[in-house]
Symmetry: D2
Subunit: 408 residues, 4 copies
Amino acid sequence: MTKLKDVKKVVLAYSGGLDTSIILKWLQTELGAEVVTFTADLGQGEELEPARRKAEMMGIKDIRIVDLREEFVKDFVFPMFRANALYEGTYLLGTSIARPLISKHLVQIAEETGADAVAHGATGKGNDQVRFELSAYALNPDIKVIAPWRDWSFKSRTDLIEFAEKHQIPVPKDKQGEAPFSVDANLLHSSSEGKVLEDPWVEPPEYVHQRSVSPLDAPDAATEIEIEFLKGDAVALNGKKLSPATLLAALNDLGRDNGIGRIDLVENRFVGMKSRGVYETPGGTILIAAHRAIESITLDRGAGHLKDELMPRYAELIYNGFWYSPEREMLQALIDKSQEDVEGTVRLKLYKGNVIVTGRKSAKSLYRDDLVTFEDDRGAYDQKDAEGFIRLNALRLRTLAARRRNTR
Amino acid sequence: MTKLKDVKKVVLAYSGGLDTSIILKWLQTELGAEVVTFTADLGQGEELEPARRKAEMMGIKDIRIVDLREEFVKDFVFPMFRANALYEGTYLLGTSIARPLISKHLVQIAEETGADAVAHGATGKGNDQVRFELSAYALNPDIKVIAPWRDWSFKSRTDLIEFAEKHQIPVPKDKQGEAPFSVDANLLHSSSEGKVLEDPWVEPPEYVHQRSVSPLDAPDAATEIEIEFLKGDAVALNGKKLSPATLLAALNDLGRDNGIGRIDLVENRFVGMKSRGVYETPGGTILIAAHRAIESITLDRGAGHLKDELMPRYAELIYNGFWYSPEREMLQALIDKSQEDVEGTVRLKLYKGNVIVTGRKSAKSLYRDDLVTFEDDRGAYDQKDAEGFIRLNALRLRTLAARRRNTR
Amino acid sequence: MTKLKDVKKVVLAYSGGLDTSIILKWLQTELGAEVVTFTADLGQGEELEPARRKAEMMGIKDIRIVDLREEFVKDFVFPMFRANALYEGTYLLGTSIARPLISKHLVQIAEETGADAVAHGATGKGNDQVRFELSAYALNPDIKVIAPWRDWSFKSRTDLIEFAEKHQIPVPKDKQGEAPFSVDANLLHSSSEGKVLEDPWVEPPEYVHQRSVSPLDAPDAATEIEIEFLKGDAVALNGKKLSPATLLAALNDLGRDNGIGRIDLVENRFVGMKSRGVYETPGGTILIAAHRAIESITLDRGAGHLKDELMPRYAELIYNGFWYSPEREMLQALIDKSQEDVEGTVRLKLYKGNVIVTGRKSAKSLYRDDLVTFEDDRGAYDQKDAEGFIRLNALRLRTLAARRRNTR
Amino acid sequence: MTKLKDVKKVVLAYSGGLDTSIILKWLQTELGAEVVTFTADLGQGEELEPARRKAEMMGIKDIRIVDLREEFVKDFVFPMFRANALYEGTYLLGTSIARPLISKHLVQIAEETGADAVAHGATGKGNDQVRFELSAYALNPDIKVIAPWRDWSFKSRTDLIEFAEKHQIPVPKDKQGEAPFSVDANLLHSSSEGKVLEDPWVEPPEYVHQRSVSPLDAPDAATEIEIEFLKGDAVALNGKKLSPATLLAALNDLGRDNGIGRIDLVENRFVGMKSRGVYETPGGTILIAAHRAIESITLDRGAGHLKDELMPRYAELIYNGFWYSPEREMLQALIDKSQEDVEGTVRLKLYKGNVIVTGRKSAKSLYRDDLVTFEDDRGAYDQKDAEGFIRLNALRLRTLAARRRNTR
């Protein structure tokens, strides 16, 4: 805490909710710091004007509310999807990928406004604190980062509510106890964690889900769509060019209606423990299937396999908060290099939780039916070549087998 | 072909179908070789007695028909599933994993019977020739391998049929032309390739599917099941201990009925071209989801991430035919080491193509709710530790940021 | 510090030197803890009896002095050398590999003696604290670890000396100021860091080196030796079977005399900063060259390349202190699997800093002069096979080239 | 051979030596093809004018002799050295890296001159045929490649000599039998293989070495040099800016005189067998040590470790002939991204086979003595942070240890 004594001005990642309102007040009263609020529209689906009014009510002079949806999808989500990134084989990194963007703006605003610190509302047990802070430090080595959940002396929910009431922060009735689970949301996904989800043997109640119908409640007929790609990024839906954020929003609608993109998992946090989460990524789940499908005809095997082998590392870096690290940037350079000819159209059926690829085509296709055909290929491929190919690939294995035979 | 001149006795992987019957006759007439037939029950779901009768009719003295289902699942499928192996992110390697087992028996029978060669019916364009032959050479460095599809002089289907008729090999009417697609099947999967599937933009017709109902035709209610694991392998279904093959067969039934495990993909063959396949792996699709789920609570992060990074390499080795290679065996040693405590129970819902994990529990669970809880954790985790953790992880990033600042 | 209040009994890694003597006294006086001293002979080349006398003088009842040289080499150094482990391409991990062994014994003694804590003398800036503590926690989740350099309130060397004098700890004259550099030593290596070495542009003075002559001062004639391996471990030198520690000691003598194994490097510490060190690993430098040489004729390419790709990760784990982690153990299982047939003899010349491999032979050799010869190979290799091998390897590259041509 | 019937015009990689002269004549007489000769100066240290005269004598109209030294070093050697590429831990890839450049020019000349084929003089057992041909196919999917050593009917050296004499190709006396070993040379290295080197237990005779003195014969005093880097490439030697080829040539002189860069190894060829080679890479051996040294102070840990892990793969690609492959280009993009700030000066001592780094400095240095110092660091690093860092890194290990304890 001593390190916080000298803080004069703080940029706070402010949602307008109860917790960050308490933090705002705490920064003012306990640290005596001037606060600039920063509220980002990442497509979380909430009104942001209430955040402005609350900040005004608490005397904030410099209130920043910014629509980051296009930047979010274009510069963060899409580059990540070029890698087909999945953390631990399943998680599409919906929360992880938003954090560096928020930190980027916190640091920029700090530099513009002469603030010496940034503050966030993530707890001391989770990954988000790490992601916020690593990003902030990577962008400004001298910035101070305030994480009130780690730093303040409140011991319980009751303490917090008491502080809020003392400082005239309105406490909605349903926030007086703790929520039955904790949520995060942006244009890519919603997550739910904690409380009713803490026992990994217990099935998540339906009400936990925030942005998708259950596969069981989805329509009985399949919805067919086409997604067009250019340089590895989705650029059009059903023949219509759309901006990155607009396209992802449209896929979210389609996914939501068809019960797509729910997962229930136990994951390994960077801070060392396992946690259980329920994630909904309707549009992203469609997108990754479509991206793999367009890659399947336009990406060379050597390129694809190298990407696949490096993907878990890349996903881990994003999960752990190392978006702004040289190694993530190096991997991005490698991935982006592979995407130059990843273009064309994928057709999919969406049906009750299923994303079914039914076709893919491309002017840059590497699929050659003259090679693969069971019919006469008119000399495109000489089957005799296979014998030499196999024999030389086998040579070392035969040498090993001969050794085994000779030395046993 | 000269290398084939001296062949005296051949063990042929014989299905009893038209193509391997032609091969059998060709080995007898063109090579003048004595033929031993080997027909394996891998759970392909066909009667094998007709193969015996046909072989007898063609004068074969030594006919081997062997039930390999338990060996297949126990020693090949299950070790592979411990790795969560997926080729190119999607393919469960159902054909690939059966080939080395067949070669193992071909070579064993050759050694028992004094045969100097083995023969298979795979074509010169596919992966299976590579898998058969690499395995055979790895097990016996001196074995000869005959691949008639590469070696004979038939130019067309008509030539084949003519040869068959000349040699009194019965040609079923529907085999007189070529099949509309080519199939392979075993207890793990069915594959369909070629012909009507050759244009990757065209949706596969429903009749291509062999062992699963369409998700659209599956029951309207979910089926809940529980799978129990020990050392990474499934050992019980719904509380009942089952042998490996029996368990996989039961999962296949469940998957088939619920429209689970269909994929339609374009993959990269080892011999250098892309091909399009439709695969059905109903039981395997359930199994991999369940295995990942039990790992999620029993496998340490370091272990799990290392496995995830090596999985694509491991899958590629199996796909390419390198089951019997030192590097596959080294990776297997690594993977098996990780599975010692992978045990417990997973509950899943099967519903119209979806495999939904709804719970997992284990006596060896590493999930600790005292660490992760939003409630008071009674000192299990000190949030202050996070600050030091982050600051040291950030140190090199801050040093980089300072350099950028100082040298721009 | 509060966490240390309840400590009753501590096992201290005690060298007998000034610093750990001060720590011993500090544990007694400031913590009021009973202290058990543990002094390991790791081949650091110091008399250990003085440590006993000093501990006795400070009233220690339970003094443990243990010769760990064989355990060190057999269970730590040799397994690591099977991997050809080099951190950042150059460092043979001489300090890193000793730490988990010390922690293992600290924890064992704690369990035997009912101590609730262990203590070490590593500073808060280095890697050793991490290695000691991760190992201790991995072996006993409830152990307390005391790191006085992080925990006490001394601000300067003067404070330390004052404390020592106050408590009648004899301070050798040359220790009254700080040493011109800091050292660590064991049977594998000596390291020197800090002070006169802090500027990485300044050449290390000759007097920094502790266990090797300069290449410039080494004999003018080469020394020829032969090392024999079994299962990847060195077992004999010049035809004489030697125990692991004895063999390494003999290689150290040979290396020392011939100016072998000095390196001067800047490395990346796990705690986030770069540091400069001068390391001497005379015997290890000979050993790694010899091991690579015996592998070169006995290890299959697939096995060797997989090992090479995983080596940096393995080395990083040891460097960072994760010897007792599932992922290191998994990698070890993979590596050990590869070493089953790594046996035979390597001949080397040692000359003024050079380790020159001049021959290698093995009953398990995979080198076949019938394959490689420029002379007639009597059919061992059919050069025609190469054409098919190349053409199928080229197929995807030609497909890419055709796309480039067709779409530009 | 049938495929060669239609060849009209061939570009031959022509050294002017006996073997490629025989090939030239064979192409003319047996194939009836028009031949264009291409002779590249890659710094192999031979006069090229004799090649012109010989080609003229054999009636060649279109003779291309090109100095590729700068292109070789700038576009092939230097990019490879940015990766610190070592094949199998030891080989600097001196032959491998030259082949794609030769193929590039062969294909270009074929396109300029309307030739339909290229030809090379590599045998059917080695790696060079693969490298030449993969590169050619990757650059022109329709090119034909002629490899006379695989295609012609000569059975022995005697046949060759007879053919030469019949066609008035002068046969130097010492070429009438076969050479005692086979050589390749360019600005980066010389290699010697075969014959007297075929037994890997026998020490290479001194006369095998072509471009370096023995360490035993090198000067008794060390030579000190400084190399300056920019963006990962060497740009100056002893303060003097030099072009890539000039700089490498100067390092070769320094290395040669000081007995630097000899290795004697057994390597794994891509075609499946092991072979023994003696390589001399005097300048390259200095360069890689210097490059690692400048990286050690300018490259971030995350970047460096990622490079180190990918290096073996990158080296294998070059060794196997996949320079012109998407995966090599992707890795190059990753590597080049890392080199942006790799600049500064390295000081080295060269002494009887040793390359001793004695200092490194850079305006972009990430080495911070304020962090690492044993002296008071004035708050740059808070040792308390280490505790949290260690405790969170240990958390999963402690959870594992608790499980072991609770379930045993």
